[in-house]
Every structure is written in C-alpha cells, then in structure tokens.
C-alpha cells in the first residue's frame, strides 16, 4: 500500500505529510533549546561575575560564517532540484556537508583548547552550560551530515524514480538544517561575546 500525500498536498491542510511532520519535530526542538537558553539567561543574570574571554571569538565567528554559508548552499541545493539540475544539486549539497565538517573540526579544536586549560564541564556553571549547549548543537550538526550524506549516496536513487518526492525530502532536510543554523545564530553571541 502506498503512503498518501508524500508528494501532493493533503486537501484539508494544504501540506504534505513530511512537511507537517518536520515542522512538528522542529517545534519540539524549539522547546528543547529554548529551555536551555532560558536556563542560561537565569544563571547569567543572577551571577555576580561571569567569565569573559574564555572562548576563541575569531573561531566562533568563523563557525558562524561557515553555518550561514552552509544554509545558503543548502537552499541552493533544493532550488537546483526545482530547476531539474541534479549535478548542481550534488555540488551544493557536497559543499554544505564540507562546511558542516569544517565546523565540527573547528569545534574539536575549540574543545581541546578549552579542556587543555583545565576547564571540563564540571569546572564552573559557565563551562557546564557551554559544553551542554554546544555539545547538543554539535550532535545536531552530526545528524544533519548523516542525512545529507545519505541523500548524496544511496538516497539519491529516488531522484530517478520520483524527482518530486526527492526534492521534498531535500526541502525537509533543509528546514532542519536552517533550524540548526538558527540555533547557532543565538548561541554565538550569548556564549562567546557576552
């Protein structure tokens, strides 16, 4: 039996199942990150002193640029499919994965530097919230890379069988990826600059 409304929109909602599904998933993600952000704000505003200059701002800024660039390449990958240009889609999607990997490599060096200064998560409230927020975000980046790699590899076969469904899947992946970018847009100033 074929699953309905994976390509065409349901008449009542005007949405495909996948699109409604990914937005409901993102809604739960807003709650997850929102709770942690609020925790940070309460701890931060209540602290008599808060560490400054603990994190590598140029590296954090570079990671922001990388994620913004990856969001642009992600949306261009989807637009390429809408223009029936699969080779271009592959280039943009590969670029997105490469940018995400560079982000994680930077994060690895940042963590190493931080831990090298004797500051594990247990060292202070700041270190605890820093590792929790960036670690959770890093796991999301890793998840995005796995999904994008799948659509560049075995998942790409769907393009030949059902290009519209494939384009929809890339759109949902993009929605997730833009959300991950959006979270970092808030994380960067809050953790690195304040």
């Amino acid at each position: 039996m074929e699953i309905p409304y994976i390509v065409h929109e349901r008449p009542d909602t005007g949405l495909t199942n996948g699109k409604l599904g990914i937005w409901l998933f993102l809604a739960s993600e807003v709650m997850l990150f929102g709770a942690l952000f609020s925790t940070y704000i309460i701890l931060r505003t209540g602290a008599p002193v808060w560490p400054h200059g603990q994190l590598n701002v140029p590296l954090g800024a570079l990671n922001t640029v990388l994620l913004i660039a990856s969001s642009v390449t992600m949306v261009l990958a989807w637009a390429s499919l809408k223009l029936n240009d699969f080779p271009k889609f592959r280039i943009y999607q590969l670029t997105t994965v490469a940018l995400a990997l560079i982000f994680l490599v930077n994060k690895f060096f940042e963590y190493r530097e931080h831990l090298g200064h004797g500051k594990p998560p247990s060292a202070s409230t700041f270190d605890a919230i820093y590792f929790t927020l960036t670690g959770l975000h890093g796991i999301h980046i890793l998840g995005g890379i796995v999904v994008m790699a799948y659509f560049l590899g075995p998942g790409a076969r769907l393009w030949k069988k059902n290009p519209e469904q494939f384009a929809n899947r890339i759109e949902y992946t993009g929605l997730y990826w833009h959300f991950v970018d959006l979270v970092w847009i808030f994380l960067f100033p809050v953790l690195y600059l304040l």
Partner: protein, 120 residues
C-alpha cells in the same frame, strides 16, 4: 513551467542577498559586544540582533513568509507551550532574577559549596 523556473531563479537571488545580509549582521553582532551597556543591556542587544538574523533565516530560507496556516498554528502552539513551561521556573525565582547569588563560605564543611550556584 517556464514561469516557475523564472520564479525559482528570482528566489535564488533573494537567498544570496539574505546570505550576505546575515554575514553583515554577524560583523555587527561582534562589534556590538564591545559596547558597555551593562549585562542586561548587552544581553538584550545581542538577542535583538540575533532575533533579526533568525527572522531572516526563518522567513526566507525556511519559507515562513508564505507558509500554510497549519504551520503557523503549530508554531503558535510551540510559543504558547514554551511560555507556559518557562513561566513555571520563572515564578519560583522571580524575586531572585537579576540578584547575584551569594554562596556562604563552606566553614570547614567538606562539599558544602553548591557547585550549581557557583559563579566565576
């Protein structure tokens, strides 16, 4: 079909412009952190700039500027749920927010210092 392709190409230009604007706002974010507005002022300013950037990503990249009402409905529910959940701990600590937490000296009691309230 031809007009649909033209529409996508027009959107591509918008995506590139938004990408450039986001990079400019990143520079503004770093520059704004050097202003001395106090903790609350700096946090507020940073969150305002981040909200502008986030709105751009949500509206243009995530297509929320022309989405179906079911999506807006689910997001509205998210905001309401988030506010309710946040208000619970906020109510319990409202009289403490913005007030530094002073941890009393351990006075020789091992492990008496609560790391959860520690601020460096």
């Amino acid at each position: 079909m031809h007009s649909a392709e033209a529409e996508v190409r027009k959107h591509i230009r918008t995506y590139l412009m938004i990408g450039a604007a986001l990079l400019v706002f990143t520079v503004i974010t770093v520059a704004a952190s050097f202003l001395s507005l106090g903790v609350a002022g700096n946090v507020t300013l940073a969150l305002i700039i981040a909200s502008i950037k986030g709105s751009m990503v949500a509206a243009i990249f995530m297509h929320l500027n022309h989405e179906k009402r079911w999506i807006y409905g689910s997001l509205l529910l998210t905001v309401l749920g988030f506010l309710v959940l946040m208000s619970v701990p906020m109510f319990t600590t409202m009289d403490h927010i913005g007030t530094p937490v002073v941890v009393p000296a351990a006075a020789g009691a091992p492990g008496g210092n609560d790391a959860g309230h520690e601020a460096h």
